[in-house]
Amino acid sequence: MKKIEAIIRRTKFEDVKEALLEVDIEWFSYYDVRGVGKSRQGRIYRGVVYDTSSIERILVSIVVRDKNVEKTINAILKAAETGEIGDGRIFVVPILDAVRIRTGERGDIALYNAENEN
């Protein structure tokens, strides 16, 4: 089990969501996040020039079985890339365990519905 966390452009969220659905990643969480990095938005207010120090991004958090890690990463890579600075990053983190609250099932089985498994 791995958690894949991807920080992506807000404008790319819909594309990433569709790409994930295409490879059968059916559930995940996402958050509005702010960060600091090389991407800058120069702004000007009443004649004073300033940089927005916070960059707004979306963080997508997906927990998958080990066999699905590569296809998830590839789906995000394909959908979130523009080639400009600020496309974001993908992190992969090991997960110790998972529990489905409704049934109490633990481990990989908690991540998918057995009857739909292909």
């Binding site: 000007i44 207010y45 009443r46 004649g47 004073v48 020039v49 300033y50």
Partner: protein, 422 residues
């Protein structure tokens, strides 16, 4: 029994209705100011800035009725005699009560200019104290020198102004008498208060503190523009007869042209200077043009009005920059520039561009010098009184909220309620 009115009587009624209609428009400038100032400041101080705009009108109107009106229009050389609630001293063809309302909304305009410049860091109680003093002292006294028939507008043979300049000071609707008075008090107030926390970095560089809602600020500017169609044309105080209907139409046109020129040329200036067409400065540019044309809207030609609007719009961009970066006075909404500086420029330019007496029209420098003199005298009066009041209050009780209150917002600590809630 049938009452028969004479034509003269009906003409006076028409004038009265026009005056009261204009008073309504000028009153509507209050929400205009409230929206501009709320939009240019941060969410944590929105309830505070709205309260200031609501209360300087409410308290100011009561005080102007009780005290200020007598000081402004009563008999007397330096100041008029306070009449305390009694309006019977006033002799006028127009109903005195209507005239009081009309004058009240002008006084309230001068008062409310200051709230924006001192936004986000002034104690609410101190703002109310200041409101008392501008409505009963600063505005009515310089108003007495001019519209109250005092020495700056005394055109009698042998008076000071006619002896010195050969003519009197002219300020049709109040570039100097209303706007500059508010603007200079605002500049002095913001200077005495000091900048908002975080406005200047450790290296002294100016930092942007973006206002929270430019949509509100834009609505506010349009409302003020609308209100100005009462402020300037209404100051004719009459509509009946060919002379008056021509005059108010002319003033309508000059007012609008100056506003448009101010907005457009401040945009061009900001675009060249900062490489971006800046909305926040263009909004100020419209107001700069409006403030500038207010003194001479009856005397200049439409082309002259466009010139005044242009000069004020361009000067505004440089003045905002100068006050912010060089003087390091933190004026969040640009009130000292728009009302103080542009009011001064507009008053002075009237001396050059007035089609009858203007220097550019070959009438000699007398009128121009009278304009400069009046604008300087009233400017000094307002700035001096503003300094005495704000410095005095600061030494006596403290003008400014504590840094904790300023950081977390005046709404929570001063008022106990916030403008935006879930």
């Amino acid at each position: 029994m049938e009452t028969i009115y004479t034509i003269t009587d009906l003409a006076l009624s028409l004038d009265t209705v026009w005056m009261l209609l204009a008073a309504m428009l000028v009153f509507f400038m209050q929400p205009g100011f409230a929206m501009v100032e709320a939009g240019f400041t941060r969410t944590k101080n929105t309830a505070n800035i709205l309260m200031k705009n609501l209360l300087d009108f409410s308290l100011g109107s009561l005080l102007f009725w009780a005290v200020g009106f007598g000081i402004m229009f009563g008999a007397g050389g330096f100041i008029g005699t306070p009449q305390l609630f009694d309006l019977s001293f006033m002799e006028s063809d127009l109903p005195v009560e209507g005239f009081l309302v009309f004058q009240t909304v002008f006084c309230a305009t001068a008062a409310t200019i200051v709230s924006g410049a001192m936004a986000e860091r002034t104690k609410f109680s101190m703002y109310l104290t200041y409101t008392v003093l501008i409505s009963t002292l600063i505005y009515p006294v310089s108003g007495h020198w001019t519209w109250g028939g005092g020495w700056l507008m005394n055109g009698e043979e042998g008076s000071f102004m006619t002896n010195t300049f050969g003519t009197t000071f002219h300020d049709f609707a109040g570039s100097t008498i209303v706007h500059s008075v508010g603007g200079w008090v605002a500049l002095v107030g913001a200077a005495v208060l000091g900048p908002r926390l975080g406005k200047y970095g450790k290296d002294g560089k100016s930092r942007a503190i973006p206002g929270h809602n430019l949509s509100l600020a834009c609505l506010g500017v349009f409302i003020l523009w609308f209100g100005w169609f009462g402020f300037n044309p209404g100051s004719q105080l009459a509509a009946s007869g060919e002379e008056n209907r021509t005059a108010i139409s002319h003033v309508f046109l000059t007012t609008n042209l100056a506003a448009c020129a101010g907005g457009f040329f401040s945009l061009i200036t900001a675009w060249i200077k900062y490489r971006k067409p800046s909305l926040s400065l263009t909004l100020n540019g419209v107001l700069a043009g409006l403030v500038g044309i207010t003194a001479g809207c009856d005397l200049v030609s439409p082309a002259g009005a466009a010139v005044i609007g242009t000069v004020c719009g361009v000067a505004m961009v440089f003045s905002v920059d100068f006050i912010d970066r060089v003087l390091k006075i933190d004026d969040p909404v640009g009130a000292s520039t728009v009302h103080g500086v542009c009011g001064f420029i507009g008053t002075a330019l009237t001396g050059l561009l007035a089609t009858t007496e203007g220097w550019f029209y070959g009438a000699g420098p007398g009128f121009f010098l009278a304009q400069l003199f009046g604008a300087v005298v009233i400017g000094c009066w307002a700035a001096f009184m503003g300094f005495v009041i704000f410095k005095g209050l600061d030494l006596l009780v403290g003008l400014r909220v504590s840094s904790r209150v300023e950081e977390e917002g005046l709404d929570i600590y001063e008022h106990g309620e916030t403008a935006y809630n879930n």
